[in-house]
């Protein structure tokens, strides 16, 4: 048995010596709000095609990323679903500047196929469903740190449904997980990002309807370059404001700065 030790050690030495790919090159980590899950992947592909530059995309809740950036996470660019997170990081001196508004998001109510609930953007059927017990579980993103969850809460409050629904809520860690919960069948529906509902991956699970955007604060989505931003991150930041990126964002239902919905 002990004769094998050198072999084992040799194998492990190879493990250590093997470089992690793409570490030294300029492949920035770009973190983005989960509502960009599908849109940003497309934009990054187009960016790669146009510039031969690559990105590492990570999606999650805007609030969690803000927290991780405060803790010194090695991200180069941050696309938040809520401008407040960006401003608060800017105030702490963690960003290059105060960033740019890149989109305004919308929320939808989505119900899985076979749900007793209707995809009704006025939330009237949700109200009826809460009253007659059709709604047992309803999914939104965690309002504490996910902007889409906070806006969903506002819309539910605006419709006067918060008190009757709050014990029935299942909270996704971010809006993408909320979409997962809303469509998997365990819940009768949920409030998620329009940009996610517009992806075939999500919409194949059930119908959805836009919720009137006067019932909640606008989802002003701000992006910003962080202190460690390199050439590629800066190029991508500019690319996000280019016509080709804007066309993709528009296709995913985002209202773009300087345009009407």
């Amino acid at each position: 048995m002990f004769k094998r030790i050198p072999a084992i050690l040799g194998l492990l030495a190879i493990l250590i010596a093997a470089p992690l790919p793409a570490r030294a090159q300029d492949v920035p980590v770009v973190v983005a709000a989960a509502d960009l899950q599908f849109a940003l992947v497309e934009i990054a592909d187009a960016f790669k095609k146009d510039t031969q530059r690559e990105l590492k995309l990570t999606f999650g809740s805007s609030g969690n990323f803000a927290r991780q950036i405060e803790q010194g996470a090695p991200f180069q660019m941050y696309l938040s679903a809520d401008e407040q997170f960006v401003f608060s990081l800017a105030d702490k001196g963690l960003t290059l500047d105060r960033g740019t508004l890149y989109a305004i998001g919308r929320i939808v109510i989505i119900v899985p196929h076979g749900s007793p609930l209707k995809a009704d953007g006025t939330l009237a059927d949700l109200k009826a469903g809460l009253a007659d017990g059709r709604v047992k579980r309803f999914a939104i993103a965690n309002p504490e740190h996910a902007p889409y969850g906070a806006r969903a809460e506002e819309a539910l409050r605006h419709a006067g449904l918060w008190d009757s629904i709050k014990d029935k809520l299942v909270l996704g860690e971010n809006v993408s997980q909320a979409a997962q919960f809303a469509t998997a069948g365990g819940a009768q529906g949920g409030i998620i990002a329009y940009s996610l509902a517009l992806s075939a991956n999500v919409s194949k699970h059930g119908p959805y309807a836009l919720i009137d955007d006067t019932g909640h604060q606008p989802l002003r989505q701000q992006m910003v370059l962080l202190k460690k931003a390199g050439e590629t991150a800066k190029a991508f930041y500019a690319y996000m404001q280019s016509p080709s990126a804007r066309a993709i964002m528009r296709r995913y239902g985002f209202v773009l700065p300087g345009e009407q919905s």
């Binding site: 048995m1 992690l20 793409a22 980590v29 803790q71 996470a73 090695p74 993408s176």
Partner: protein, 222 residues
């Protein structure tokens, strides 16, 4: 299929074993042959990661590694980058959460060696090092191997701590377990299913291999 995540996970598991097992042999043997005041507390502290929720371990590591702590600041000034959200940070976290998985089987193995054997070796004029190398380690080897396998397999499956201190960066901290979570959230069930099946297969093979080796070793040294 996210090969980068798989490679990263195997690398993390391998390095965790490499760093942890020598420590576990030293600590496990020491705990096996000595008794002192506070030994129970020491053993309890080493077993803690077994019972603590990964989120608790993750939270403490995040605080300890973060740019708010002296440790985090010292590390940052030495190496120019933070320990959180890096592969090195993940390795440190992985070593810590795996302590009980490595130390306990090793300690049990050393405890099982009769003190008479040590006395006999000493009577024969064997030096301490020679006695450890020629007698104790071969006898404890099945236990050490169990520690290696448990550590390796547990690292493959670790999720909570990695999620909290890793930050899911592709090629840096995104392990297979995280990649699966990520794919499920992206409604990419096909990729999630493939990676889950692969992880299941690797884990099964690893554990089966350890049972096989332990059996064979057990026969040889019986």
């Amino acid at each position: 299929m996210d090969w980068e995540a798989l490679w990263l996970t195997l690398k993390l598991a391998g390095l965790t074993v490499l760093v942890l097992i020598p420590l576990a042999i030293a600590v496990g043997r020491w705990l096996a042959v000595t008794s002192f005041r506070g030994k129970a507390v020491t053993e309890a502290a080493l077993a803690l990661p077994l019972v603590l929720p990964p989120t608790v371990v993750g939270f403490y590591l995040l605080v300890a590694f973060g740019s708010g702590s002296w440790f985090g600041q010292t590390y940052q000034s030495l190496f120019g980058h933070s320990l959180v959200f890096t592969f090195e940070g993940l390795l440190v976290a992985s070593v810590i959460v795996n302590i009980p998985f490595a130390v306990q089987p090793v300690q049990r193995a050393f405890e099982a060696i009769s003190p008479d054997l040590r006395d006999a070796a000493a009577t024969c004029g064997m030096s301490w090092w020679r006695m450890v190398w020629r007698i104790e380690l071969p006898l404890a080897w099945p236990g050490i191997l169990t520690g290696v396998v448990l550590t390796f397999a547990h690292t493959l499956g670790e999720f909570g701590v990695v999620l909290m201190v890793g930050g899911s960066i592709p090629g840096e901290t995104k392990t297979v377990a995280i990649a699966i979570y990520d794919r499920v959230q992206a409604f990419d069930d096909v990729a999630a299913a493939k990676m889950s099946a692969l992880l299941l297969a690797i884990s099964l093979v690893t554990i089966a291999l350890s049972y096989l080796l332990t059996q064979r070793l057990g026969r040889r040294y019986a």
